[in-house]
Amino acid sequence: MELEYTSAQIEFRQEVRDWLRAHVPTAPLASFDIEEGFNAHREWERILAQGNYGMVTWPTAYGGRGCSLIEWLIFEEEYYAANAPGRVNQNGVFLLGPTLMEYGTEAQKARYLPAIASGDEIWAQAWSEPGAGSDMAAIRTRAKRTDASYVIDGQKIWSSRAVFADWCFCLVRTDPDNSRHRGLSMLLVPLNAAGITIRPIRQLDGDPGFAEIFFDDVHVPEDHLLGPEHGGWQVAMATAGFERGLMLRSPARFQQTAKRLIELCHTHASRLSAETRAGALQAWMDAEAYCHATYMTASRIMRGETLGAETSCNKIFWSELDRTMHRLAMSILGIGAELEENSDWLDGYMFSLAGPIYAGSNEIQRNIIATRVLGLRRG
């Protein structure tokens, strides 16, 4: 155990800080759930890529810097401290990227990863279906193998940013004779393919942040298969592991929110109840705890350990912390909380309500912890 940064890591932090100071847009960008904001965020991804900051942990050959996970955490700390824009390509950068690294062929890595890092291709996730939410093994969207391609028919739903995105990674049933977890495959599908219809769905904030995707006789070449045919479940579980584990929500995000919450407490100090102040203090502690736990996890991975089911603890912890912090902020803002001028906290509160739902609902995470971490009997 050595809890000090190396001088190279301290220099890296300074370099990131300087670069962000010079490049982060001074005015916040419009929401990436509307077209104008989506395009602005794509432009930001390109600027990040020009600085070679698209995804610092990726190998240089794929548009990264070959950084360690600790350096990634440093990057994220500077990123959130600088209030830099949200990552419109987070599905590509944090979920598909690592999955490609693990399951992709050399050709697939070379084809897709650089375009993710550069912001040229923005990805959506196409897993949930009207009849397959928490019960993901109930997926019915079919992909029939023909000579050299797959033909997809079916329907996906709750795909974030799919209204404007370029591609989706899509979990489909390739073996109709096998039910449940067997017989699924992961396909990479361009969203402009013939036969695809996209219907926007308005989210809580009114923006079309979700989409329903209809597949009607959609042909994709066979080399768009990621991982083994009929082995899509294990590929999806690896992706979900990245999602719940380390990458999707770095601690800096919550430390920054906790800091803003403490600042909000100072601004409203004269009318702050002891309960709210205690809540903010607990939130600060929990954000710190999440940071320490993540540094510990990153260090374990760097020593060659692999993540297990305990990653399900992360997702519960950060999502419920995020909701608590925003609820407290709404309480502090009180009569002004509904106003657009306070939309930072209001939008954040709305989005925090999605946290315990997406990336596998927290109830499913608790089931996983109970059965796979603690060893309780399955129901």
């Binding site: 000090e4 940064y5 920054q256 800091k259 320490h292 608790r366």
Partner: protein, 350 residues
């Protein structure tokens, strides 16, 4: 930057766990009235566990507070009655710090029975067996005789505690005073909070394990109750808290060697709070899983639960640590936000 336990640390903890699990069984815990709570001391001393942090020149293992925390966690896991954590984590390092190497060596080898007390822990455990008590206050560090400093024993809900209140102003051999005493007292309080927190993590872990075993065997409606989600989620919730308390405890343990005092104390407070709250949640949810059985001496849960209540108040209770953290975060100008959890300018003591 590497926040993982070294292989040697893990091996040391595994060895301690194997020994403690074998020797300090729940069957032993049930014999509280027939035991001094000190029977294992010779074996613990011969394993070198009392001298974890003592330098090798004094016959110690020459390790750090991180290893002390790992051992404290194991002691908590079995609800060990012996004052292993107190001696290895507090007394021996404190005597070394005060330049009393010979005495430290004697205590680490199990030859001298010594208690320790401070304003945050004005009770001496194993009160009837102590030969001396080290009294550490911000004004004075003194070594006192039991007859001069110990009040009549008091009963605790934890039958193993054998407590006596220490008269912190008692006469004794003065080892340090003024600034040196103040520094030593702060250091001791931080160490006490961190290692108690580590014990609480071990206790929480054990309570979750006990409840898991019970839930897998107890049947109602024809199935193990552990297969019901309502029961599963009680224990999953406790496990989540534990997953985010342990790293705080080890972060704080690593900071015990650092001279950035406000940060060291901030981390110690955070560790104690995180571990106390985790143990409280684990005990409340575990007793719920055990049902009526858990409300009795028939189940073993109560030994662990009661130890966790006892430790919750020790070396700074919740109110003390909450107040200190509140002052740091709201009024103390502590750097907060991303990138402040591991300060760049921290220097190591050693």
């Amino acid at each position: 930057m590497d926040f993982s336990l070294a292989e040697d640390t893990k091996r040391l903890a595994e060895g301690a766990r194997a020994f403690l699990t074998q020797e300090n069984t729940v069957a032993r815990l049930r014999q509280a009235e027939q035991s001094s709570g000190l029977e294992l001391m010779p074996q613990i001393a011969s394993l070198g566990l009392l001298g974890i942090e003592a330098p090798e020149t004094l016959g110690g293992l020459g390790l750090t507070a991180v290893e002390s925390a790992a051992i404290a966690e194991e002691a908590g896991h079995v609800a060990l009655p012996e004052p292993l954590t107190e001696i290895a984590g507090l007394l021996v390092p404190m005597l070394v710090h005060l330049g009393r190497g010979e005495l430290a060596q004697s205590v680490a080898q199990g030859h001298s029975a010594m208690g320790i007390a401070s304003p945050l822990c004005p009770f001496a455990g194993h009160a009837r067996r102590q030969a001396q008590v080290l009294i550490v206050t911000p004004r004075r560090v003194a070594l006192a005789e039991p007859k001069d400093c110990l009040n009549p024993p008091r009963s605790s809900i934890d039958p193993w505690r054998q407590l006596a209140r220490v008269d912190l102003e008692a006469v004794g051999e003065v080892l340090a005073s003024d600034e040196a005493a103040h520094e030593a007292c702060q250091w001791l309080n931080a160490r006490g909070a961190v290692f108690t927190a580590a014990e609480l993590c071990g206790l929480a872990h054990r309570m979750i394990e006990l409840a898991t075993d019970y839930a897998n065997t107890r049947e109602q409606f024809g199935v193990p109750i552990g297969s019901f989600q309502a029961v599963q989620h009680l224990l999953a919730d406790a496990r989540v808290r534990l997953e985010f308390a342990r790293p705080v405890v080890y972060r704080a343990a690593a900071a015990l060697a650092q001279i950035d005092l406000p940060r060291r104390d901030l981390l110690a407070s955070h560790a104690k709070l995180a571990a106390t709250d985790t143990a409280n949640l684990a005990s409340e949810n575990a007793i719920q899983v055990f049902g009526a059985f858990g409300y009795t001496f028939e189940a073993d849960l109560h030994y662990f639960m009661k130890r966790s209540w006892a430790l919750a108040g020790l070396w700074g209770d919740r109110e003390f640590h909450l107040q200190r953290l509140d002052a740091h975060v709201f009024d103390g100008g502590a750097a907060i936000g991303p990138g402040t959890s591991y300060r760049q300018e921290e220097k190591r003591h050693d």
